[in-house]
Amino acid sequence: MRRYILSRLVQLVFTLFIVSLLVFFMVRLRGDPISVMAPPTFNQEQIERMREAWGFDRPLLEQYWVFLTRAVTGDFGQSIQARRPAMDLVLERLMNTYKLAAAAATLGLIIALPLGVISALKRNSFIDLLSTLLASLGTAMPSFWLGLMLILIFSVQLRILPAFGSLEPTAIIMPAVTLGVGMAARLSRLTRSSMLEVLNKDYIRTAHSKGLPRRAVVSRHALRNALIPIVTVFGLQLGWLLGGSVVVEAVFSWPGLGRLMIDSINVRDITVVQAGLFWFALSFALINLIVDLTYTIIDPRIRYE
């Protein structure tokens, strides 16, 4: 087990190395990074000063080395806009995004698990068809549009929920629903198919025939065994949630990492974008590691060597 975690951590380091290359060269995709980073108001002299200050006149390899050694310590440089370390800005916003993602994931699970289980138990019933339809809609709907529709209904028409910000405790409801619906749609389908597969197994028939109540069979024998693929996809979906947060935070002006990224892109505050990308990658990789370790709890048969 310990060796497994260790090898996964080595993998993580390699992943972050590739991400660092990506983040480094992203700014240089158009050739001169100054053309991306300098505010349009800068004159030639200011641009030259900036080029020198950022070391863009040095050899590329040296630039990358400097970038990498600093990034390892969490130093992505100063935010051009806020004149503070970019990483500080990112860390300030991080919790808000995690909070939103956690709320959305919880909501997604609360909707998806019962819906999927019921669909599987009452296959081809009205509720099964309805949930299939809703799931298709949930995957096809752009999240930002769902958000706009919620605002239209609950803020503009009914005036019961705040349309943006995070000041009121109710403000998290609409962004969380917006993010959670997509997840619920994918997970409910998967729960259904996974349950259907397990329900056909011999040990379920055995459990029934030895007289266990249906409820016990479903929850203890079937659902627990159906959970493994669900956990995998749940982990992947968490990454999707982090991604979706960029768009949803923009719709609801939720002060998280996603909105910080968009705001920074709009004012060309590239160091913040780089630090943000890095955090997204790190969060996602850690989530996947945790998900893999969770398997051992759900299914004691799985042992990592």
Binding site: Q11, A140, P142, W145, L242, G243, V247, N266
Partner: protein, 305 residues
């Protein structure tokens, strides 16, 4: 090679070009006819593609024409000339329906071209990694893992924010970031297929490795690529609309559904139709693509439920 049908459960169809040849076309239509979901998807996609190609001819108004005397008019509004704006008008008095028809063009172009780029890169990448295996495979797959550790939409947001937007750039960005999914799946398929007997047979009769890769293995993994591509069209259309909505994608005067929603967002309090209908257009289109993709999967790959 077309006669080769494996006894294993892995490869069940012949080379896919057969699907397009005459004897199979009848089956294709009949299969479509017997599946209501597939048929619905097919009809939706056909309509959208028709709009994209012939939109200018059937559009009731000029989608770009301002009419300041008919601003913010609700659906069903009849203007001074006696013409009806079925879905209402926007802040400049432009006809929403005509703009939705015109907007289909960008969705179709981006959906098709970006997916073709991503699919080609991804399939080749997965083919090479899976076929050669060993260290090359390990390195190539680590890179894929790293790229997958950044949520797709965040990667695209960051790159298009840095590189700058526009239709062509956007297509390139979506194409050059979207291949990762194919790479991983195709590699997995190649690993299975390359162990099959007929591949050994191809070696035995003295075919060169490169020929085996392209002539024996590629045709047998391509159907997986096609199924994946079908689902990715929906993902790509959603990504394009999100980016355009955020102001990081296609720019005005180009007409896209995402941009229409960005406009509509400003006037949610007074003109609900501006946000409702373009979003519906996206949802229905993606739903059609998803349906068609599901159906395609059932037809091409009978092993998946």
């Amino acid at each position: 090679m077309a006669e080769l049908t494996s006894k294993d459960n892995i490869v069940t169809i012949d080379a896919p070009q057969q699907l397009l040849s005459e004897p199979r076309r009848f089956d294709f239509l009949r299969a479509l006819y017997t599946s209501p979901v597939g048929l619905a998807g097919f009809i939706i996609v056909t309509i959208v593609v028709f709009f994209a190609i012939f939109g200018t001819m059937i559009s009731p108004f000029d989608p770009a024409e301002n009419n300041l005397r008919a601003r913010f008019q609700p659906p069903g509004f009849v203007n001074d000339d006696g013409a009806t704006h079925i879905l209402g008008t926007d802040q400049l008095g432009r006809d929403i329906l005509s703009r939705i028809i015109a907007g289909s063009r960008v969705s179709v172009i981006v959906g098709v071209v970006a997916v073709m780029i991503a699919g080609t890169i991804g399939v080749l990448y997965g083919l090479i990694a899976g076929f050669f295996g060993g260290t090359l495979d390990a390195i190539m797959m680590r890179m894929v893992d790293a790229l997958l550790s950044i949520p797709f939409i965040i990667l695209v947001v960051a790159i298009s924010g840095v590189v700058g937007a526009g239709l062509t750039t956007l297509i390139l960005i979506l194409g050059f970031t979207g291949w990762v999914t194919y790479a991983r799946v195709i590699r997995g398929e190649v690993l299975k297929v390359r162990e099959l007997e007929y591949v050994t047979a191809a070696y035995a009769i003295g075919q060169r490795r490169i020929m085996v890769m392209f002539k024996q293995i590629l045709p047998n993994v391509i159907s997986t690529g096609i199924i994946l591509a079908a689902t990715q069209v929906g993902v790509t259309i959603l990504a394009e609309s999100s980016l355009s909505f955020l102001g990081l994608g296609v720019k005005p005067p180009e007409i896209t559904w995402g941009l229409m929603l960005a406009d509509g967002r400003q006037y949610m309090g007074s003109a609900w139709w501006m946000t409702t209908f373009p979003g519906l257009a996206i949802t229905i289109t993606v739903l059609g693509v998803v349906f068609l993709g599901d159906w395609l999967r059932d037809v091409l790959d009978p092993n998946v439920r």
